[in-house]
């Protein structure tokens, strides 16, 4: 099975490949902005509180610890999630499938000094970095430092330098609810008796791909009323499999498709168990 586009493949220690959807640069940026906002807010509150009780020294120290500790603390405590990442269902995972250890979290977050805080200083307060330099030297240095900031856009996996050093990926936490089994009569929805019956000849036309499409049609079909899509799909299937009496279906299009889906799935799954796979309705030549 080839992994779908835009996914990160992680092999679990049990040896099964899992496919995670890769977080986009935009998602990560927004999560980062939320996190930085929280750091700023927390820093402000703490700074005001500490300034009057302990003086400027404590403020400096706490801001430093907050700036670096925030990400390390949350990614360790919350399994690769910070409040910003959690808000957008993002998550840090190790590319080799192992657990996210403290040293991994440290490695990916210590580089923020170079990748984030240095470019941010440059953008907000350039004189703090090179007060004595002007002209081309300054432009070159600026370009060089901004290179770190935009590094994730230069590779397919959207890796920061920190991700590269720590061997981590940022993915979207998957969440798919369990949908009802369309072929299970006990799961409800349809009357238990089958109305339509199919012969092996009827079932030898379509493959797995068409079955998937049919499942999609049935899941999206409107309940109760007659859905024009269902009627049209029903007509085409009748024509293709050579159903002898299309007129007898009447307005039971949905019923017909449900029975056909169950029969077709049983047929294909039975063949699969015997090691015979049919992906498409006609045996397509391999694409070069």
């Amino acid at each position: 099975m080839t992994p779908p586009l835009g996914t990160e493949t992680i092999v679990t220690p049990e040896g099964l490949e899992l496919h995670f959807q890769r977080a986009t640069a935009a998602e990560r940026l927004v999560a980062l902005v939320v996190d930085l906002g929280l750091v700023l807010l927390g820093g402000l509150v703490l700074a005001l509180g500490l300034w009057f009780t302990f003086g400027a020294g404590a403020v400096l120290l706490v801001l430093f610890l907050l700036r670096h500790g925030y990400f390390v603390w949350f990614e360790t405590r919350w399994h690769g999630r910070t409040p910003g990442k959690r808000l957008f269902h993002l998550r840090v995972v190790r590319s080799d499938g192992g657990p996210l250890t403290v040293e991994t979290v440290l490695a990916r977050n210590l580089t923020r000094e170079v990748e984030l805080f240095l470019p941010l200083t440059l953008l907000l307060q350039p004189d703090a970095l090179f007060a004595d330099h002007t002209g081309p030297m300054r432009a070159l240095a600026t370009l060089w430092i901004l290179g770190f900031l935009f590094f994730p856009l230069t590779n397919r996996h959207r890796l920061r330098i920190g991700d590269l050093l720590a061997g981590t990926r940022v993915v979207v936490s998957p969440r798919v609810a369990l949908a009802r089994d369309l072929a299970d009569v006990r799961a409800g929805g349809t009357a238990p008796e089958a109305v339509f019956h199919f012969t092996p000849e009827h079932l030898s036309v379509y493959g797995e791909h068409e079955l998937t499409v049919l499942e999609d049609v049935l899941r999206k079909a409107r309940r109760g009323t007659s859905d024009p899509v269902v009627a049209e799909v029903c007509r085409r299937i009748c024509r293709r499999i050579g159903w002898t009496d299309p007129a007898a279906i009447g307005n039971q299009h949905a019923r017909f498709l449900r029975d056909f889906y169950a029969a077709q799935r049983q047929h294909l799954e039975h063949r699969l168990l015997l090691g015979k796979r049919r992906l498409f309705k006609v045996a397509r030549p391999e694409r070069r």
Binding site: L106, L165, L273
Partner: protein
């Protein structure tokens, strides 16, 4: 005539396992929201069992179940359960103790040649600046800018220079200490990150630090203040310089792996080095915290030369013993 519609075998497959999947999903959802600790012991024991079962069901489903709804749900359920099952240690105490006792000195020993190289670069910068300032005091301004010098330049009187070595007002001690800590740590952490650019900026940073030290040493030696100067530098300098050298070594090691990855792929070598060196930098930051405290408080309060030199030797002995011997022997 009425009989059951065709029943694919995967219908039975699902019926037999669905209860376990629902249970697993409830446990996982709870963990995601409030952590593993929120589960009761008997629930906790169920998680790996249910996870394994779901994992093997996914393997079967991928190869021979054609129900997309089922497959997509299992994919997401197993992925979520995997993240819960393979979650990291979460207690800080569980990590910090073994790290200080074993992990940190071991990691430092593993890059001893880089530490040596990094120390040599600092010495080289120091020696160069020292020689140049000796030859012509005007060169001092090349290495030390005005903000850093704050009056300690060749035009200052010897008395004024001596005063800087024993000064210190009680008020600002902690402020000074924490400024030193944050500044030095940022430089140290920066050094690690810059290792990614083949370690070149690391060498420059180390040279720069060495030159600063060398130039100022030349100035104070010139005025016959050598003993006082070193008593001012060494108590914290032993720890601080070592930490900076270690950060530099970490940066060099990362750069080295990038250029000479050995039998591994470049990416893999970088990751292995990156994780270990991140730990070295974290340990160095802890050292810098100690150094800043000595620099900001102890040095300003204690003016006796023997005590200053005594403390410097204690630190030197301590670090040597720690990095050479700690964490060896049985696990």
């Amino acid at each position: 005539m009425s009989h059951e519609p065709a029943t694919p075998w995967s219908v039975r497959f699902r019926r037999e396992r669905q209860a376990a999947w629902v249970e697993l999903e409830q446990l996982v959802t709870r963990c995601e929201r409030s952590g593993l600790a929120s589960l009761r012991p008997e629930q906790l024991a169920r998680v790996p069992v249910l996870y394994r079962a779901a994992l093997s069901a996914l393997g079967v489903a991928r190869s021979s179940v054609l129900d997309q709804g089922l497959r997509q749900h299992l994919e997401s359920l197993v992925a979520r359960a995997y993240l819960v099952v393979y979650s990291p240690k979460r207690r800080v105490a569980e990590v910090v103790g073994p790290f200080l006792a074993r992990g940190f000195p071991e990691a430092v020993r593993s890059i001893r040649w880089h530490v040596l190289a990094s120390a040599l670069v600092v010495l080289l910068g120091g020696g160069l600046a020292y020689a140049m300032v000796q030859a012509d005091p005007e060169h001092y301004y090349l290495f030390v800018d005005d903000a850093m010098a704050s009056g300690r330049d060749p035009t200052a009187s010897t008395e004024a220079l001596r005063a800087t070595l024993f000064g210190g007002d009680g008020e600002a001690l902690l402020t000074f200490a924490s400024f030193l800590f944050t500044h030095n740590s940022s430089v140290g952490i920066l050094t690690y990150g810059l290792g990614f650019v083949f370690g070149l900026p690391v060498v420059l940073l180390l040279l720069h630090n060495g030159m600063l030290l060398g130039a100022m040493t030349a100035l104070f030696h010139d005025r016959g203040l050598a003993v006082e100067w070193w008593s001012w530098i060494l108590p914290h300098g032993v720890t601080e310089l070592l930490a900076i050298v270690l950060c530099g070594a970490a940066g060099l090691a990362v750069g080295w792996q990038l250029v000479f990855p050995g039998v591994h792929s470049r990416l893999h070598a970088l990751t292995v080095a990156g994780r270990r060196m991140g730990a070295v930098v974290a340990g160095s930051v802890a050292m810098l915290l100690l150094a800043a405290f000595v620099e900001g408080v102890f040095r300003q309060v204690v003016h006796s030369l023997p005590v200053r030199y005594g403390l410097a030797s204690v630190f030197a002995g301590l670090w040597t013993g720690y990095f050479v011997f700690a964490g060896r022997g049985r696990r």
